[in-house]
Symmetry: none
Subunit: 201 residues, 4 copies
Amino acid sequence: MSTPARAQRADARSNRARILDAAEEVFGRGGASASTEDVARLAGVGIATVFRHFPTKAGLLDTVLARRFERMLERAEAVAGSEDPASALFEMFTAIVTDAPGKIALAEALDEVTGGADGAASQAERASAQLRQAVGVLLRRAQEAGAVRADIELPELYALLIGMSRSTAVARLESGIQAKALGVVFDGLAAPGYRRRSNTM
Amino acid sequence: MSTPARAQRADARSNRARILDAAEEVFGRGGASASTEDVARLAGVGIATVFRHFPTKAGLLDTVLARRFERMLERAEAVAGSEDPASALFEMFTAIVTDAPGKIALAEALDEVTGGADGAASQAERASAQLRQAVGVLLRRAQEAGAVRADIELPELYALLIGMSRSTAVARLESGIQAKALGVVFDGLAAPGYRRRSNTM
Amino acid sequence: MSTPARAQRADARSNRARILDAAEEVFGRGGASASTEDVARLAGVGIATVFRHFPTKAGLLDTVLARRFERMLERAEAVAGSEDPASALFEMFTAIVTDAPGKIALAEALDEVTGGADGAASQAERASAQLRQAVGVLLRRAQEAGAVRADIELPELYALLIGMSRSTAVARLESGIQAKALGVVFDGLAAPGYRRRSNTM
Amino acid sequence: MSTPARAQRADARSNRARILDAAEEVFGRGGASASTEDVARLAGVGIATVFRHFPTKAGLLDTVLARRFERMLERAEAVAGSEDPASALFEMFTAIVTDAPGKIALAEALDEVTGGADGAASQAERASAQLRQAVGVLLRRAQEAGAVRADIELPELYALLIGMSRSTAVARLESGIQAKALGVVFDGLAAPGYRRRSNTM
DNA sequence: AATGAATGAGAATTCATTCAT
DNA sequence: AATGAATGAATTCTCATTCAT
């Protein structure tokens, strides 16, 4: 008896994953205007199945976005121990920016759907906060290594990070342009006397 | 004889202005999901009056956004002749970034509504291109004055500008944070040896 | 003082005529879906002027249609005295059928607008009844002349007339086809032994 | 296992049928001006259900009209093998004419809604073409049997058919009148010497 | 647990008709 | 008398969410 139950759970788990993948694709491309039915179609399940797993569209978006932040968080943790803390920071910065298209569409979809209600996006908010914290660690390390100006704090670093992410997502920049813009930011962050390796970006 | 005609036009003109103001407010806050009826309500006119003045929602958004770019353009032209070209550029940069919240919501609403169809947003596109050009002029002047690195070109400057605008709009930054982030960007842009006046922002 | 009044009346009269012509054109082409504003535009007057002359769309359509029936009535009266009563009837029949496109669009527009309410189209109904009567006279004459079967009465003749009119209007027949179809009807109407002149149609 | 799937489908199928019936009634009476909401109300379903089954009003009308032509086509095929080809043709003609009220309102509604765009009414067009072809067969048989004049071809026969249909639909003729008018047409079609059985109509 | 059909609350847009000048 | 701006009711269609199987 427990075996069939397990089998079903496995089914359900795989459906859940398929739905999340489909939602990431669909909302990442079409933003808030994409419909939940499109997600179901792409996932190959019925619409009711989507709603069984995620009772509201906002919940679905929240989960998708959280997953995406979590993936980034893993990368951040992976580079956290790097012996070149400056490169670690700049590489992470670049990685987040590069990942931005799609993620931002998701974030805006979520925003549109929740109407900005506080806490409506709790999973994503938590994951995003964790990522922020991890970036904070990278920042501190880079500062301790003398690579980044000491008067920089996380809020302004994050403002720059968000900005460059949005810029990339919105303007469909040639990568050369994006690299140059990031170069300016990194130069601005660098401690006096620190020489960034120009291929960093 | 011309008076009655004028009188009507004055009425219509004032309604048109009220509608534009209302639309700027409503869509600036609520983005694409805000409804044209909300605009009508806030403007204190009937829904059909909105559609008489702006036959499509896209047209209304286009006009509102164009107006906003035009206001910025005026500022750009005002500082163009400044005898301190570096300050002129950085002040303009700051002004555009500060103006961003609302404008960005408008831009995204327009995008959502047009579905990205080319030319569907012609007024706004034209005005935006003019602003970009004007910023290009400020950049060249600042470079000629030796204040900004010579290897910077307009596309990357604009990428930074858009990014910081988005950042400001999205993160509802405290102005202190925003100023610090801008400081980093400006430092990254500055020619070696150029000393920005720290109160620039 | 009376002169200016007269002048105005002349103005008004010419406006009225222009509106009627425009309405005939616009509704004759576009049916009920055409808008009263289109009429005003084509007539070169303001929309309020149209409504001053014809307080409802139904009233306007009624008048236009009545005018059209009246024109036909004049033709019917013109041929009434013909010394070849059979030709007179068949020619009148053909004339009405040929005039049908446009008239039918008007009739249907009127119908759609009134929702079939009785008496809502009184002018047109009266004029149409007069035309019917005039055709009745032509029928009787043709029967007295031995050209048309004696057992035919006005209602069935009119059914045929309406049918062929609708057919012409709807099917955009080549005139050769229409002529052949009319030929069948005329043959069916002809008294035994009567030889229609084949160019009748 | 298949039962639940079937059950749903049965539900949906019955709704679909109810919607089609309601649409036939509503548009057959009210023409294009009738609203899809009226259809929903009469069918006893929500408005969205109508749109789920027929994503556009034009599609709904197309299907309703096609169904109606198909019913007629069945009759045409039923009489095609009759051993009295003349009666077969005249009976079919009469049947089509008698069926006209309602059908014509549907056709005009469809026309209004599609704006005459080609192919927008494909199902109905196809079914109508099939019916025409079937009538063509009946005509040929009747001519071969010597009952109908040899110089008649399908286009003019169809012009007459359409005309008498419209006439019936528009004028709400007493059946006696309609019969007499049809009698005229049939006499006009009959080959010289052929004696129609007077009860044909 | 999964399905797909059903639902009603909007949203943009149009139009006949009325008002103010 | 003429104008054109304003109005609100109506219409088609979409979507998140719920129900029945």
